[in-house]
Amino acid sequence: SPETKQHFACEYDCYGDSYTADVDIAQLKEVFSRMNNLK
């Protein structure tokens, strides 16, 4: 829903990394793995 979308947009950046929650190596690896077509 638009509300959920709005909520996630505030909590996570477009790559799925949280703006506020600290990240560890495994989580960051997962974020990077979802990033495709970087060129």
């Binding site: 703006y19 506020t20 600290d22």
Partner: protein
């Protein structure tokens, strides 16, 4: 001058070993010198290009194929005894002539590839001596080549071991780099997230103050 020495055992006298030496320039089909010795006497003959052509024509074989057969029968050591056979007979009071023939066996029949009449040499010691010298030179040459190859192989093995070490180090360095970068990244990112949390807190407080002020007014 190319040479080849091999052992042959005549079918009519299989207990006697003869040594057959063939010497030729560039290609066998241009002609070759045949030497046969039993370790005591020696007989020689020169086979010309024309002799070879004539022999090929006599047995109705194509020249090139005939030369190939000659190579196999005269120049191979031992391995083809099922396919080729030799025979020797001597002639004359002092065995001045030696008849040397070679055949190819095909299933149940055999056909003559060639026959030669060799002449006895007056000084066999010289011929035998040269033959042995040739063998010793071959041995020395092969020893040198083998030593060279062994040294080369040793170097290659050493290079291979080094390279395996380098590859292993590269793989480990790649893994270390990955871990190192991720460690640094999360430190920097988490610093930014702390900043974001603080800003969000300040913003919330500021927004609450605005609301309170509006209400108070």
């Amino acid at each position: 001058m190319e040479k080849k020495v091999r052992r042959i055992y005549p079918v009519s006298d299989p207990g006697t070993t003869y040594f057959l030496q063939i010497a030729w320039q560039k290609d066998l089909c241009t002609g070759f010198d045949v030497t046969l010795t039993d370790g005591q006497s020696a007989w020689i003959e020169r086979v010309s290009k024309e002799d070879i052509s004539k022999e090929a024509a006599d047995i109705e074989m194509e020249q090139e194929k005939y030369t190939e057969e000659l190579r196999k029968v005269l120049l191979s050591e031992g391995g083809l005894t099922d396919t080729y056979s030799f025979d020797i007979s001597k002639e004359g009071i002092n065995e001045d002539f030696l008849h040397f023939s070679y055949e190819k066996k095909l299933k149940d029949l055999a056909f003559r590839l060639g026959s030669l009449k060799l002449q006895r040499v007056s000084s066999p010691a010289e011929v035998i001596s040269k033959l042995i010298s040739y063998c010793l030179d071959c041995i020395a040459g092969l020893h040198a080549k083998n030593n060279h190859l062994q040294r080369e192989n040793k170097i290659l093995l050493s290079d291979l071991t080094d390279l395996q070490g380098k590859l292993q180090k590269c793989v480990e360095a790649k893994e270390e780099l990955e871990t190192d970068l991720y460690t640094r990244f999360i430190l920097v990112l988490n610093e930014k997230k702390t900043k974001i949390r603080n800003l969000q807190k300040c913003l919330k407080e500021a927004e609450e103050t605005v609301v309170e002020d509006t209400q108070a007014r």
